[in-house]
Amino acid sequence: MTGRLATLDADAARTDLESWSRSAEDKLVPTAEAVAALVPDGALVGVGGTNHARTPMALLIEVLRQGRRGLTLARPLSCFEAELFIATGAADRVMTSWVGIGHGWGLATVLRHCVEKGLVAYEEWSHLGIGLRYKAGAMGLPFLPTVSMLGSDIDSSLDLAKVRCPYTGQLLNAVPSLNPDVALLHVQRADRQGNAQIDGYELMDADVALAARRLIISAEEIVPTEVLKMDPARTVIPSFAVDAVVHQPYGAYPHECYGHYEADLAEFAEYVRSVKADGIDGARAYVDRLLGFADHDAYVAAAGSERLAALRRTAEEMMPR
């Protein structure tokens, strides 16, 4: 499986866009409806945020709930959400530069199991490699040149094509564009039409949004457009790139959302305990527990108001002052 095989023709993505209506109507829908309409089996899913920052957890858990199969997950750095998908067979392919929870948490047990047993296709890129795939997709270009990955075994494993600068002759890697079938993003605020603002680190989400063929945004807050107009430079996703908007407080929980709540490490530990005890079956049991809640609000509420208040307080204390 090579990078070239994973390339979707950027021009075809443009043709698709021209035939697809995304007028500025009210796009606010329930989570289940958005996922049912826009995430098909076999889709290449661009997952927003990075590692455990602004992961669209509510949307991802809904994808698991609806039992999708054969998905490919693409993300610059992945956290344990990728393991939930490969443990249950929802995804059989992962495209990323890193999988783990973070410093001090050890190796990703389920990913190790699935890759070492050959149960999933694992496509390894550099961090900028993923970033330029999205950027090319967002720019409507089939590839972007870079020195990233040159000379490495990542380069040879992906069988990346090379280009020479037509002016200077410099040798460069040609990173193919990526226009995900659908992207899932979580942001701090959006209006009902899909104009969206991100606070703090944007990561790659603006490029992911523009590259995606279909886009669902979940937002901590849904605000009147007038609120966005008070700080328009913070709007990084325009409504015309968005297909559906979901209102989901704690939409990244148990991961963090800058300015709103920090990651819930106690919940991470719960997952890790489950996997340490039972390996891949532990990850499946954890997913069963997630799907046992009626919806994301019920899952979040189970953490208890005291724990949630502490997560919010820390996030606020870390804000610039």
């Binding site: 610059p76 530069s97 890193w98 890759v115 390894e124 900028l128 020195v147 990233s148 870390m318």
Partner: protein
Amino acid sequence: MTDLSESTEQLVPQHGDARPDEVMTIAASRLLEDGKVLFAGIGQPLVAAAIAKRRQAPRLTVLLEGGMVGIELMPGELPASTNEVRAAVGAEMLTSASDIFLMAQRGFFDYGFIGAAQVDAYGNVNTSVIGKADAPTVRLPGPGGANDIASMCNRTVIVTAHERRRFVERVDFVTSPGHLRGGSSRQDAGLRHGGPAWVVTDLALLDFEPGSRRMRVRSLQAGVTLKQVVGATGFELVVHEDLGHLPPVTDDELRVLRHLVGGPEETA
């Protein structure tokens, strides 16, 4: 050839209270000059940067792949990820992750600090797989930002424990390019700039021999013999003709490190 005869010189002992990982982190911090720009990772690189900022390099700009530029480290609040709020405290600028790497490609970053599961004689680093790429014995986390850091920063610094299983003649997989196969092979592959300048371990400070680009012992950590370093290395090392010892860790360096990490001094 490596001369393994023991020096008759009296060994100056290492600070009696410093653990090997602390010795390594402090040695890395000493490489950082004031006013420079460092692309750091989580863990020891970030701690090394924070020590340097509190000592010889107050105007060191530290940035992380999550898009954070000019960050501060809050004592006792070490981030677990380059993409979280603890890694953004005190930032002068928050930009996109791709922009950070494109700035690296532009050539703004003096140093890039990376770790290694394996490092070889030419400073190539593996954090991807042990064994074969298509059927690995162990699947490791992957490059994260390390491939880009090693390809793009002006000087790569590899910080890792000095163990024979890590220091191998040839890594199983080149995740992050060093001097590739030595000589001009890095430039020939299209990497015209940068490359590993230093390897910092708990036993030594190493660099790369001009020309061959093979790893060379530059200085030994205090209290360490060349024989120990050679014994902990799985390939033949070049030895600098002017081999000496690094000064031992000082009380102040250790105090600053433990204050940052929120470690033993607080609980003792």
